[in-house]
Amino acid sequence: MTGPASAPTTTALGGDPGFVVELEAFSGPLDLLLHLLKEEQIEIGDIPIARIAEQFLRVIHALGLNQAADYLEMAGRLLRLKAQMLLPRTGDDDWEDPRHELVRRLLEYQQIKEIVRWFERAHERRSQQYARGYLPPPPALPEPPLTLDILALLQAVERVIAGIPDPVLHRVVPRALDVEGATRRVLELLDQQGEIGWLQALGPRPTIVEVLSTFLALLELAKHGRLNLFQSAPFTPMVIRRDPTRPAD
């Protein structure tokens, strides 16, 4: 999780020799923040944001936590809050304490911590009692040692060889894409109909070569302004239309 393990586990902070922080003890920025508030004996409802933000930054710097995005995000929130607290209050009636959201999260997190302590006690109680020992399924038995004589081995080899079918040789013939042929076909179709669908342009039961040829032909024709390609919506079939501004050739 968060918190690099390579950082020192204890660090004295800010010239206060009594203030020692255990890195491993923190499970996140909220945890660290609660710790700072406790150390400073600060009431959660009234956090001196400027001071705590400074403390927080100092701690994450000293602990090498500034690598962890979660801590940096909290540092950013604190600095923003600090700035908000500095803004002059206009009309006390509709002033909302910018710290409120942070207070709510801290209280919520405190409650989670309390539930965690309850979980730990429950788990501790449960581990005082043992169920009947779980027996994992036995591992698959190893194959019995292989015993065979040379004759049996040769017979086996013959059986395997006999089972090999005659080799079938394939000749691979490279088939060039027929873009020109596809171009002709598309233009003919357009001459007849003016507008065709993608599937029509492909013709019945097209091979992969025909699909590729037709696609390249369409792109080429569109590039030269011989036709226009449309889609009524994303992923709908492509509609091919002859460019009406050009005479058919």
Binding site: E108, Q110, Q111, E114, I115, F119, H123, Q129
Partner: protein, 193 residues
């Protein structure tokens, strides 16, 4: 003990997990759920009155026969069996959030804990403590997580109602509301992370 109680005892002894009343009922086609419950009561009394070293414990929606707690130290010291491994702080925090907020998505868990939860969610899923229970209707339809019966088993809980009610916790989740606070900010956690 009645034959049914004996049969149930044998079944509980043979299983390595809690068995529900419904599961136990399948042992005997003639037995009703009420019969099974009566037999379970009888078995419990049998263990208690005769001062057996084991007891019948209601756990994770079912019943299991467990050794009594006061033998724990000796058994552990002799290393006849392994203690249930402890969970890390991050795992416990995540379980705490999920058990109270389920079904709950990753964004909300991360918002409450203030840290990325991807790794710990995967680990908890692998250990069988949580499972995906659905998808949220929110943007991207994120997965929603809930706790499994094994989670209850690990904490020795009968069911989720065994968890402490939030009002009973020392830190009640009722922040001192400023008079001009919008009601919705306390009720829902923003998912804008």
């Amino acid at each position: 003990m009645t034959p049914l109680a004996q049969l149930i005892e044998a079944a509980l002894w043979s299983a390595s997990r809690p068995l529900t009343v419904e599961e136990l009922q399948t042992l005997d086609a003639e037995a009703s759920l009420a019969d099974v419950r009566t037999a379970l009561d009888q078995l419990r009394e049998h263990y208690d009155f005769d001062q057996h070293s084991v007891e019948l414990v209601e756990l994770a929606g079912g019943y299991q026969v467990l050794t009594r707690a006061h033998f724990a130290q000796a058994i552990e010291a002799a290393q006849f069996t392994q203690r249930i491994p402890k969970l890390t702080g991050a795992a416990l925090e995540t379980l705490a959030v999920i058990s109270y907020r389920q079904p709950v998505g990753r964004a909300e868990i991360e918002e409450i804990r203030g840290v990325n939860a991807g790794g710990v969610l995967r680990a908890l899923q692998e250990r069988g403590l949580i499972e995906v229970v659905g998808r949220s209707e929110a943007l991207g339809r994120p997965l929603l997580y809930g706790t499994t019966p094994y989670f209850l088993e690990l904490l020795g809980l009968k069911d989720l109602s065994d968890l402490p009610r939030t009002e009973e916790l020392a830190v009640a989740l009722q922040p001192p509301k400023p008079p001009d606070l919008d009601a919705d900010s306390a009720a829902s956690v923003p998912a804008d992370r």
